[in-house]
């Protein structure tokens, strides 16, 4: 949750608007505070800026000084959506250089990267100038600072889709996965790029499966890479059990003594799929899957024991469950 921050100083030599000669003509508008639930005691600077902000909004004044005032107001509270809206109206009215505004919002974004309003302001500006040339860099910096910043990823995906900027994007995401194989946002982005550009063709699918297995090997407890693998399989009509690369990888990892719950879960699903296809040793497959579920429920992942028991039960009843994501596609 973003919040108004008192650390966001307006500078040590703050001059109150009430003391500024060029604001003498404005009568500040203070807020009615008679509600017992919401009575608030603001800092003097905060009160000063917002009393004048209310005054110019009520007059509908769209001037240079109004623009400066909104700058002070958003610095005090960048989450105040009304100030941003008014600022945009003033920018339009005065026909301001929007590239300057892009620089300004960039600086605020880097101070408040988890704030909805600052990113929305940027998106509207990019639409207005119809020019995305700075966006990849701005989001790259934000992502370098916080690899899982939802707003930054969302902005990047918006701009890629809106202006068709898929080129080189796979390299960008590859570097991030190299840096942190557990970055779920990066894995999601990888899916986003491929799905919207080349699509999961047979050739791409093969490469993606190899890439993912290689990364699973680096961190076998990593939920993100296992989920991505399951996402890939949705595009493969052989299913899980029909893909030799995957089944052999799983068996070899398992025989090396690996007990990752995601590995075991995948083997359970492979067993279930094989059994439902009516292989001769269906009973053996089901028994193996059931035993793995029991091991998960009692030893490896007891916090989710009810889930594993449910999967075991479905396995015995011949109901395929967690591998089936057909509703998504």
């Amino acid at each position: 949750m973003s919040s108004a921050s008192s650390d966001e100083e307006l500078g040590t030599e703050y001059t109150f608007y009430r003391d500024k000669p060029d604001w003498k003509d404005i009568e500040p508008l203070s807020q009615d505070e008679d509600d017992p639930v919401v009575a608030i005691d603001y800092s003097p600077e905060f009160t000063d800026v917002f009393n004048y902000f209310r005054a110019i909004v009520s007059k509908g004044e769209k001037s240079e000084r109004a623009l400066i005032l909104t700058k002070d107001a958003v610095k005090l509270n960048p989450a105040n959506y009304t100030v941003w809206q008014y600022r945009r109206e003033v920018l339009k009215e005065l026909n301001k250089d929007l590239y300057e505004e892009l620089c300004f919002i960039e600086a605020i974004i880097f101070k408040q990267p988890k704030n909805y309003q600052v990113w929305q302001h940027r998106r509207i500006l990019v639409e207005w100038v119809n020019d995305p040339k700075y966006e990849k860099n701005v989001t790259k910096i934000a992502i370098e600072k916080d690899a899982k910043n939802y707003h930054a990823w969302q902005h990047r995906q918006w701009v890629i889709k809106r202006f068709n900027l898929y080129e080189d994007e796979l390299n960008f995401v590859e570097k991030l996965i190299e840096l942190d194989v557990r970055n779920n946002s990066a894995w999601n982005h990888r899916y986003f790029i491929i799905n919207n550009s080349t699509g999961f063709t047979e050739d791409i699918l093969r490469k993606e499966i190899d890439f993912t297995l290689e990364n699973i090997r680096k961190a076998t407890e990593n939920e993100s890479s296992w989920n991505y693998l399951r996402g890939l399989v949705l595009h493969n009509n052989q299913g899980l059990s029909g893909n030799k690369t995957i089944t052999e990888f799983c068996e070899s990892l398992y025989s090396s003594g690996n007990k990752s719950s995601f590995l075991l879960s995948l083997i359970v699903d492979i067993c279930g799929e094989q059994a439902s296809k009516g292989v001769v040793d269906a009973d053996v497959k089901i028994e193996r899957g059931r035993a793995l579920c029991e091991e998960l429920a009692t030893k490896i992942d007891p916090i989710r024991k009810n889930y594993w028991r449910y999967i075991a039960e479905n396995l015995e009843n011949g109901i395929k469950t967690s591998g089936d994501s057909s509703k998504v596609l």
């Binding site: 949750m1 807020q31 909004v57 959506y81 909805y116 779920n184 946002s185 399951r230 007891p302 994501s325």
Partner: protein, 331 residues
């Protein structure tokens, strides 16, 4: 590369019961403390701040504020032109605060205090041709707003004014390969947005479009060894996700897939025994937002001293019953 799990460790001397009297004090005093202006009661999100405080108080059977004042305040925040409601006086209307306002009015059985036709008009005006909803006239699109739209309209019995099929189609287009949902098509799955989408589908009676078991598995994978729940893989646990994840699991009929006792222990550990209130993690600063979601999650976990909460609306079940609203809950 070894496995380094992001989590917190619970200390020995953590609270193990709900300290009700402290929470009442905390929620009642919240707006009056000077230093708290920078948290949730500041005017740009005041309507939601009020919803968090007042709903939390209702869940623990307290209602210390004069209802008339609150209803009058809400009335003064409705924009006569668009019909929408703003966070506070002199702010622009927004769907988030329109829902918060309607929720508070339902708590106080005072829906008729505002222009409901205006609210209906406002919500309907924010639907786009692709079925999605904008949060306000500036057009930010997000599945949060799809939820706000149907929750608001359902509470005032006007769901039929929007194109539900299109709205469902948009939410469905935000479903990901892992079974979860994000803010827009193919945005990363996120427990908060999953709640919005699942509650949306529960209110509109379309929960059958989700991949029940896949989604519920993703959700129960959010539980960490500390017992707490995170919102995405590799993130720290946070009390608000206790609510987003748990309520989604409840609507999916899979609440029992997580370890309830471990979660209860984690939520109770996030109480501030000195000031009252719940924080995101043990030892952090408490606030009304986490206090509401902490209490609501404890209610879903079956704590009898807390009022029963409705999983889709995050309001007392008694209020939803009185309005005769039924949500879909999968078995």
């Amino acid at each position: 590369m070894g496995s380094i799990l992001k989590d917190v460790e619970l200390k020995e001397n953590i609270p193990t019961t709900v300290i009700f009297s402290k929470h009442i004090e905390f929620l009642t005093d919240y707006g009056q403390q000077k230093e708290s202006y920078e948290a949730v009661m500041t005017d740009y999100l005041r309507m939601s701040g009020m919803y968090w405080c007042l709903t939390a108080l209702e869940l623990i059977n307290t209602s210390p504020f004069p209802k008339n004042d609150i209803v009058e305040f809400i009335k003064s925040c409705q924009d006569t032109e668009s019909g929408g409601i703003s966070a506070s006086n002199d702010h622009d209307p927004h769907l988030l605060y329109t829902l918060s306002a309607v929720q508070i009015l339902c708590l106080y059985d005072s829906l008729d205090a505002i222009d409901l036709e205006g609210v209906t008009r406002y919500v309907a005006s924010l639907q786009n041709p692709d079925g999605s909803f904008a949060g306000d006239k500036w057009g930010e699109i997000d599945t949060r707003f799809s939820f706000c739209a149907v929750a608001t309209l359902s509470l005032i019995k006007k769901l039929d004014v929007i194109n539900i099929d299109k709205a469902v189609e948009f939410v469905k287009s935000c479903m990901n390969f892992d079974g979860g949902f994000g803010s827009r098509p193919q945005s990363e799955s996120h427990a908060g947005l999953i709640y919005c989408c699942v509650a949306f589908l529960s209110i509109t009676g379309k929960l059958d479009i989700v991949n029940q078991d896949n989604l519920a598995w993703w959700l129960c994978e959010r539980q960490l060894p500390s017992g707490g729940l995170n919102g995405r893989p590799e993130k720290l646990p946070d009390v608000c996700y206790s609510w987003w994840v748990l309520s989604s699991l409840a609507m999916l009929g899979r609440l029992h897939w997580i370890d309830r006792n471990a979660l209860k222990k984690y939520i109770l550990a996030c109480q501030d025994i000195e000031t009252g209130g719940f924080a995101d993690r043990p030892g952090d600063m408490p606030d009304p937002y986490h206090t509401l979601f902490g209490l609501a999650a404890l209610s879903l976990l079956g704590l009898e001293s807390i009022e029963k909460v409705n999983a889709a609306f995050c309001m007392p079940q008694s209020v939803i019953d009185k309005l005769q609203i039924h949500i879909q809950m999968l078995q």
